[in-house]
Structures are given as C-alpha cells and as structure tokens.
C-alpha cells in the first residue's frame, strides 16, 4: 500500500494574517506580493506538506474580471511561487482550481460549454507553467466538476484530483450524493477523490466510509479545523485533535490527508508527525456499482426499470415534437415516466432530417432539469452518443453496441472515456442468431471487447433480444435461455426490450406481462418497458417481492396502499363522472378546472355546432367568466391556471376536429415571450405562457436570461405581432429597456407588453413598452386586443 501523502492547510486564512484585506483578490498577490505567498507555502513545506496548492483557487476569468489581471498571468505566477516554496523539498505543486463562482444551468445561467472553456484556460496555463497535477476542490456542483475534469483530461497530461464539499446530511448544497460523486468521477478516470472544507474530520468520517464503498480510487480528506463558532466564525479544535481524527481516516484506507479552513502550519506539522508512523489500511475493494444522476443512483443488483417512452419509433406525435423542436412535449414524457416509477430513462431522438447530436444534448439537459433519474442514451450515431455523454450530469448507460467490430471500435472508446455502462445487443453482421448458444457467443465477444477497452465487467449489460412471438414463436424460449446463461454463467447484467414480444396479438398486455415475469425469473434485471402501463409495473412490483429485493414487501404494500382489488372497476367510476358532467355547463366545468368534463362537454358541443362557434360562443366566454372572478378576487392564480388548462382541452378538440377536416390552424396568433438578459427568475413568465397557450395562442417561449438580439431575431423569424418581456429585479429592468430599443430599431412591426414585480405602468411607458400587464390575466386581455 502507498504511504500517506500530506497536503497543505488553509491558504486564505494565512494570507489574511499576512495582511490580505476583505474583498481583495488573493490571487493578485502572486504578482504583487509573491514573497508573502511563498512564505506561507514555505511554512507548509517545512511543516511536512508533500503537495503544495498554488494560490489560484479563484484564478478564473469570471472572478478575475474586475482585477485587471488575466488567469494565465496569475496562474503562471502562482505556480512559480509554489515552485519556489517547494525548492529543496520533494513537495509537488498542484494547480488549485476552485468553483467559478457562478451557477451553471439550469440553476444559473452559465452554460456547461462556457464552464468547460473557463477551466480549460486555467489548466492549460497551469500545465504550461509547470504544475505537477491539477486539484479541483471545494465543489458542490457535479456538473461543474465534470466540466473541470473533462477540460483537464482533454487539454493536459496532468493527474487530476477532485475534492467536493458536503454537508453532514451526505449531500452537497446542490444535492449531489456521495455515491453519485464516486460513480461519476470514477467513470471519468480521476486519479484521486475525496472531500474538503465545510465540516471537521469527525463529521466527514461517515462520508469517507460511504465513499470507500463506491470507488477503488485513492481517497483524499482535507477537512476544516472542526466546526466554526457561529457567532465569531472561529474554528475550535487543536492541531493534536485534528491529527488524531485524521489518523482514523488512514485506518479507513485514506491515503491523501491535509487541512482546509482554520488549519495552520501547526496542524499540518502535527498531522505529518502522526502520519509518519501510520500505514494506511488496505482497501477491500469497492462493492457497489450503479448509474446515476447528480442526486440519485440506480444501484446495480436489483431490478431497474428503464422507461422506453422517449423514442420516436412508431410514434407520430413524438416525431412531430422532434421536427418542431417541441422540447416541452419530450420533457413531459420524462416526467410521466418518473411519476410512474421508472428507475432509468432511455433517450432516443433519432429521426431522419434532425440534427441528432445537438438534439440529444438538448434533450438530456432539459430532462435532467426536471427529473433526477439516471439516463440511458439510445443511438447508433457515435456523434449523438458523445454529445449526450458530455451533457449528462452523472453516469449514464450507452444503448447500444453489438457484435460488429466497427460498432465496438466506434462506441466502446466513448463508454470508456465518459465512464458509461454499455448495452450489448446479441446480433452481428449476420443478423440475429436463432439459438441461445449463438447469442451467448456474441455476448462473449462483446464482453471481451469491452474489457479490452478498460470497461469493467459489471458495467456490461447484455440484450438477448426479444422477438415477436406471433411471428417466431419458438424464439421466446431461446431469449429466456440466453438471459439465464448471461446472468448465471457469465455473471453479466441482462437488459431486454419487453413490449415487442406481443406485437400483432390481441390483448397484448397478457402476453407482455407473462413474458416479462418469466424473463425476470430468468434473471432479467434491466427491463425496458412502458412504465405508464400499470399491469407492467404491478408485475415488477410483485416480482421484487418474490425475489426478496423488496424487503418485507414494504414497497409493494406502499404501492397498493389505499387501493382495493375489490373496489368498483374503473368503468363504473367513469360512468359516475359522466353522470356528474351531464348536468354541468361547459362554463362551469372550465371555471372549476375540470379537464375531463371540459373535453366531454366540448365534444358534445362540437356535434351540434361549427368549430369556430364553439370557440367564440362557449370557450372564450367561459374564460372571460374565469377572468372576471379572478379580478374580483373570487379565484386566485392557481384556479385561473387550472381553468385555463381545462379550457385548453376544449381548444385541443376543436383543433383536432378542424385538422381532421383538412382545415387550417385555429391558433389565435403568435406571441414571443422572454425573461430578459441577466434575470433567471422566470415563474411569472411561465405562468403567462401557460395562460396564453390555454387561451388558444401559440407561444414561442425563449426562456430566461435572453439577450436582446435573440428576442429580435425570434420576433422576426416567427412573425410575432406581440412580444412579452418579463423582469423581476430593479437591476434587470435596464436589460428590458435595451430589448425594447432593439426591437424598435429592427423595424419589426410588433406590440410589446412588459410585466414583472418591480414594474409600474409609468415605468413601462417610460422604457417604451406598449402595454403593462400586471398579471397573466391582463396579458391575455392584451393579447386579445392586439391579436384578436
């Protein structure tokens, strides 16, 4: 086993003691007061540090923007200082890389690519200046860490260490869990990982134990000097107590030890003295594997349900969404599958004529903004897979490779680079073999290729392929035999797309569920299914009880709590609902926000009236009634939204009816909406969008933090005659004024409405807006005035 490596202690604390003023940029001292920087680092070297961190924690272009120095300049000087301090010792110099200081999307506005470029600039400068390794530290966002690690791996040859900052709950401020960090960074091939800052050694010890379960990489621990006194901010434990506590970490197999806030050279000296007599315990090897998002792990071992619904194959509506770039529709498919109990989401956006790599990355980002399920990227295009793998925040599965050499050669290196698990299909250039033995032989070839690319055995998932039983009846048994061999003899995971089994048969669900149950018994642990089909998820819940995975049947009982198998069937319930709707007016249904009733009553009305008459004489007046109640305070915003949602069911039926007759659009007109540049608070704008859409308008939602020129370009491209702008803060209202000016200057003929908490009608007029909308209801009134 390696000996223990001793890191340094606090840098900021020491520079402040040397005279650094609050608000002053510490990295600037690398050029203005290098002697003071070297003196601090020299004290750590003399205390026994074997690795000196450069004074470059915040030397990124965002944090340095106002100090008049470029990152490369301060990093070059910072490495020179550390090198001078290390002179005459064996200490290595680590380029210190801290958080950028701005939040990445979706919480903030910084894009992943921009973050990557900021880190690239730092690590390239660090390597050129002669740093021995890169240390990425004090991170709480796994996405930001991924950007930094990829930048370091792709642009330098330096070893990369990562430490993240956790709370005692076992999560970072951004919700990253210890297993998610371990799986993701292990997959990216970092050279060591662990924790720094936020807590003292005692509080971090349980997290160290957990981390050791999930990775075999060397572990780092660089805690604070205990917890700070809340009133004064002073740290409390002594150097000896600190050294005692860290020797416990060595007993857990941690080999890299140091100190963070509040740890002075005395702490490092005590630690180095203690470590000299310690041999870190041998690690027993990590036991747990899985795939993950930043906050949730699908642990390998039990059954993990992969949701199949994000896939255009055979789905006209989904294909339309891809062509029209309707990301919201795709995200809805993710949300409904998560709510239905999927553990992993398959993402397939392949369709002739679309830019699959760009769309893959975009959908991955949109989906992981609203669900925390791990993802499986489904494509045969290596470029689309790589775009998706870069965008994933966590560790994904790649679906798929097969026995063809050129496919293995193209895709396995991507899996290895990004640390993804991989699905191998049991087919090759000769097609799908007819016997279990031949399929297993292909699985063996895929496994050998994966291992040769450095992919771990437990990350290989074999798909023995489901064939349609109505066409090739004898094949179902072959598939099940192959699954059993793959699981029991080869010890690999088995994945199967299940639904295909019943194609062409009546009452398909019986066959699908029957096959699924048998496959689970044969060892299938990654069923790819439609989780919205209740019978399928019920069968999986039952199988989890029978296999013992669902301990004490707790999840099963929870799933069926409050339901009663003997309760009236859903048919009876429907009849009851229809009965209630019979004596309800369409207006009453809309006012009460009842979607199903609104749809039923609209359908009835359409039987006796022309489509546009239904809109003009029923739907719009109902919305007006709702608006009146809202303005009188009889309804609040949630009820207004629910009513508008219900009305949209009516509009949908009208649209369908007109489309079926080959008629044109019934959109009442197009509106471009945006939250202005610099503003990320977009709930107000989102409410307006929902209400306008449900009032029958087509809304082009540009999102938040939208630059003026993007708004202008969209307004012109879409031919929008109404543009809505939102701003929440006094500090972002100037961006609204600029956007209005840009729209006017473009000569595009449109009206502009503005809204947001700090705006007033007077101010709206002052910055040149045509309308001030105090709420979503007024937004709809304005839309009617402008667009009709």
């Amino acid at each position: 086993m390696d000996n223990i490596t001793i890191l340094d202690g606090a840098m900021g604390t020491m520079l402040q003691a040397a005279g650094l003023r609050p608000g002053e940029t510490p990295e600037v001292w690398n050029v203005t007061r290098p002697g003071d920087v070297i003196a601090v680092q020299r004290r750590y070297a003399e205390a026994g540090s074997g690795v000196l961190y450069t004074n470059t924690f915040g030397a990124n272009r965002i944090k340095l923007a106002k100090c008049g120095h470029a990152p490369a300049e301060l990093i070059e000087a910072g490495v020179r200082c550390a090198r001078a301090a290390a002179a005459g010792t064996n200490a290595r110099v680590a380029l210190d890389v801290g958080p950028i200081g701005q939040l990445l999307e979706p919480l903030g506005t910084l894009s992943f690519d921009e973050a990557y470029d900021i880190f690239r600039e730092m690590v390239v400068a660090g390597e050129a200046a002669g740093a021995d390794l890169v240390v990425i530290e004090t991170m709480s966002d796994l996405y930001e860490v991924r950007a930094a690690v990829l930048a370091a791996k792709e642009h330098t040859r330096l070893p990369v260490w990562v430490t993240m900052t956790f709370e005692a709950t076992g999560r970072t401020f951004l919700g990253v869990t210890v297993p998610a960090m371990a799986l993701t960074l292990d997959g990216l091939g970092v050279d060591a990982m662990g924790f720094n800052c936020s807590l003292g050694p005692a509080e971090l010890m349980p997290l160290v134990r957990e981390l050791a379960d999930w990775t075999d990489r060397p572990l780092i621990l660089k805690p604070n000097a205990g917890l700070p006194d809340p009133a004064t901010g002073a740290y409390t434990i002594t150097p000896d107590e600190f050294a005692d506590a860290l020797s416990e970490a060595a007993a857990l197999g941690v080999t890299v030890l140091g100190g963070c806030c509040g740890t002075t050279p005395d702490f490092i000296r005590a630690l180095a003295a203690r470590a000299a007599g310690l041999t870190p315990a041998a690690r027993t090897g990590s036991r747990k594997r899985g795939v993950c998002s930043s906050g949730r792990v699908a642990v390998f071992g039990g059954v993990n349900v992969i949701g199949e619904r994000i896939n255009p194959t055979g789905k006209k509506r989904f294909q339309q969404a891809l062509r029209e770039h309707d990301i919201a529709y795709i995200v809805d498919r993710a949300v409904e599958q998560e709510d239905a109990g999927a553990d992993i989401l398959d993402i397939n956006v392949g369709l002739p004529g679309v830019d699959e790599p760009r769309l893959m990355a975009e959908v991955v980002r949109a989906v992981q903004a609203v669900t925390d399920l791990p993802l499986q990227l489904d494509s045969s295009d290596p470029a689309a897979l790589e775009a998706g793998l870069r965008a994933v925040n966590g560790r994904a599965i790649v679906n798929s490779v097969n026995g063809r050499a050129e496919v293995l050669d193209a895709i396995l290196p991507l899996c290895a680079k990004y640390g993804a698990a991989v699905v191998g299909l049991c087919l090759d250039e000769r097609g799908i073999p007819q016997t279990a033995e031949e399929r297993v032989a292909i699985a063996e070839r895929i496994l050998a290729a994966a291992l040769s690319h450095g992919i771990r055995r437990e990350d290989v998932l074999i798909d023995c392929l489901t064939l349609t039983v109505s066409a090739q009846q004898e094949q179902a048994a072959q598939t099940l035999r192959a699954v059993r061999t793959v699981r029991e003899d080869m010890g690999l995971h088995a994945v199967l797309g299940v639904s295909n089994i019943s194609f062409g048969l009546p009452a398909r669900e019986n066959v699908t569920v029957g096959f699924l149950t048998q496959a689970l018994y044969a060892g299938l642990d990654f069923p790819i299914v439609n989780p919205n089909q209740r019978a399928i998820m019920d069968a999986i819940a039952a199988c989890r009880v029978l296999s013992g995975e669902d301990d004490g049947a707790a999840r099963y009982i929870d799933r069926f709590a409050g339901t009663d198998a003997a309760a009236p069937s859903s048919n009876t319930a429907n009849t009851a609902n229809t009965g209630a709707a019979a004596d309800m007016t369409l207006e009453a249904a809309i006012v009460r926000g009842l979607k199903a009733e609104t749809a039923a009553l609209t359908a009835k009305a359409l039987d006796g009236m022309p489509e546009l008459a239904v809109v003009e004489s029923l739907l719009i007046p109902a919305l007006d009634a709702v608006g009146g109640k809202y303005e009188r305070g009889e309804l609040f915003l949630p009820q207004l939204i629910n009513a508008a949602n219900a009305a949209s069911e009516g509009f949908r039926l009208v649209r369908e009816r007109i489309a079926a007759k080959g008629g044109g659009s019934v959109s009442r007109g197009k509106i471009v909406l945006a939250t202005v540049h610099g503003d990320v608070h977009d709930i107000g704008k989102n409410i307006v969008r929902v209400v306008l859409e449900n009032y029958g308008y087509t809304v082009v939602d540009l999102g938040r933090d939208v630059p003026a020129d993007t708004v202008v370009a969209a307004a012109i491209r879409e031919g929008a005659r109404l543009v809505g702008l939102s701003a929440l803060m006094t500090t972002t209202v100037p961006a609204m004024a600029e956007t209005i000016a840009a729209l006017r200057q473009s000569g595009h003929d449109c009206k502009i409405m503005v809204g947001g908490a700090v705006l007033t009608p007077e101010y709206a007029a002052e910055i040149g807006a045509d309308y001030y909308a105090k709420d979503a209801k007024q937004g709809a009134d304005i839309a009617r005035e402008v667009l009709g």
Binding site: G23, D332, P638, T731, T760
Partner: protein
C-alpha cells in the same frame, strides 16, 4: 441553534397568492396545507450568522463592512452589537420548484407563495432563537439590504462577510439576485433596553412605490 421550518403563516401565503379579503376560493386552504407539509418534508433550511460588537463610530468590530444610508445607523443607535444573518430554504426548494413547474403550473404558483411564507417562518424562528440566546439583552427588528435606504448593492459585501456561499450555499448573480430564491439576508441590533420604535412597515420598505398590496390598502407588517 439551527435553522428551522416549523410551519407557515397561512394568511401570509394567501396574501402572496393575491387574497384581498372576502370568501376563499374552494381548495385554496387545502392547497396551502398540502404545500406546507411538502415543504416541511422536503426543504432543509440553513442559516449562518455572525455577531459583531459595534465600534464607537458605528462600524462592525473586526470587519470592514459598513452599511450605507441612514436607516441602519438609526436602527443600531443605542445598540452595543449587531447580528448579521443569511437564511435560505436551500436548493431543495429550487429543485422542487423546477419539478413542480414541469408537472403543474397551478401547483407551482401555490408552492412559490408557500415558499415565501416558509422563509419568513425560518427567519422568525431564527430571530426568536437569537433573542432567547441574547436575553436579557433585546433585539431590534430585522432589516435587510434593499429596505429603506440600505442599498441592495451592498448584498455582495454582506454575503461575503458571512461567507454565505460556502456556509449556506447562497450564490449571488452580478445583478445581486440570490439563488436559492427563497433566501433572506438581514441584520438586527442588540441592545440593553427594548427598542422604542419598530423598523417595519411601509415607510421602510424598498417596495413602497410599486407595492401591489399597498395599492389595495393592505399592509404586510
């Protein structure tokens, strides 16, 4: 002493939803109760605070921060110390909000209102705990950057003084927006006698000019 969310002032949540008196819409009370339970289960409130003695010239002992404007010096007149804090519902609220918006905008609106009431509850609890710890000394009302003439532009320095990003995860944008959104920064004076005058109400409020409640003749405190 830890940041705690113990419940919501339902009237406050209703006010954020636009309630101006009169009969409640059906479901409004049930919606709020449901969101309250969800918030208590989901969010993890955090707070960081520091106590500084006041120097004779009105500065905070040991740090360079000095509040601009006249309102804070007036609040702290006769005080011997000041407590500065930052409290937040955390990113758990942000994640919940994003997930909810993807499912139901109506639900998200209620959640947003309840989140605003929730961070007030966290601040009330914290200030209550601080008051108990300071007894027999007394605390003034809390006063935030953006109130009165205490400028929002000092938010950056205020948060830096508390090390709020590292300690409780509050990030500021260039324009001074806090993320998580449901976050509050404020200061309170510590004094020997109860304050004679409260530093609350419309006269001190940064939103005096554009407050939608005040236009309807309603005040929030």
């Amino acid at each position: 002493m830890q940041a705690r969310l113990t419940g919501l002032n339902h009237n406050e949540a209703l006010a954020y939803l636009g309630y101006r008196g009169g009969a409640l819409p059906p479901d409004a009370a049930a919606d709020i109760a449901r969101c309250e339970a969800l918030l208590i289960k989901t969010v993890r409130p955090r707070a960081v605070w520091r106590r500084f003695a006041l120097t004779p010239d009105g500065g905070f002992e040991g740090v360079s921060f000095r509040p601009e404007g006249g309102d804070v010096p007036r609040l702290l007149f006769g005080c011997e110390a000041v407590i500065c804090f930052a409290a937040t519902l955390g990113m758990e609220f942000e994640a919940l909000m994003r997930r909810t918006q993807a499912r139901s905008m109506a639900e998200a609106v209620v959640l947003d209102a309840c989140g605003s009431a929730a961070i007030e509850n966290v601040c009330d609890n914290l200030c209550g705990d601080l008051a108990a710890a300071e007894a027999p000394l007394c605390l003034t009302d809390r006063f935030s950057p953006g109130y009165g003439d205490f400028p929002l532009t000092q938010q950056h320095d205020f948060c830096a003084m508390l090390d709020a990003q590292r300690r409780v995860g509050i990030t500021l944008s260039d324009s001074g927006l806090m993320t998580p959104q449901k976050s509050v920064t404020a200061l309170l004076g510590v004094r020997r006698t109860p304050p004679e005058k409260r530093a609350r109400g419309c006269a001190y409020c940064g939103r005096f000019a554009d407050c939608t409640y005040r236009k309807d003749g309603i005040t929030c405190g």
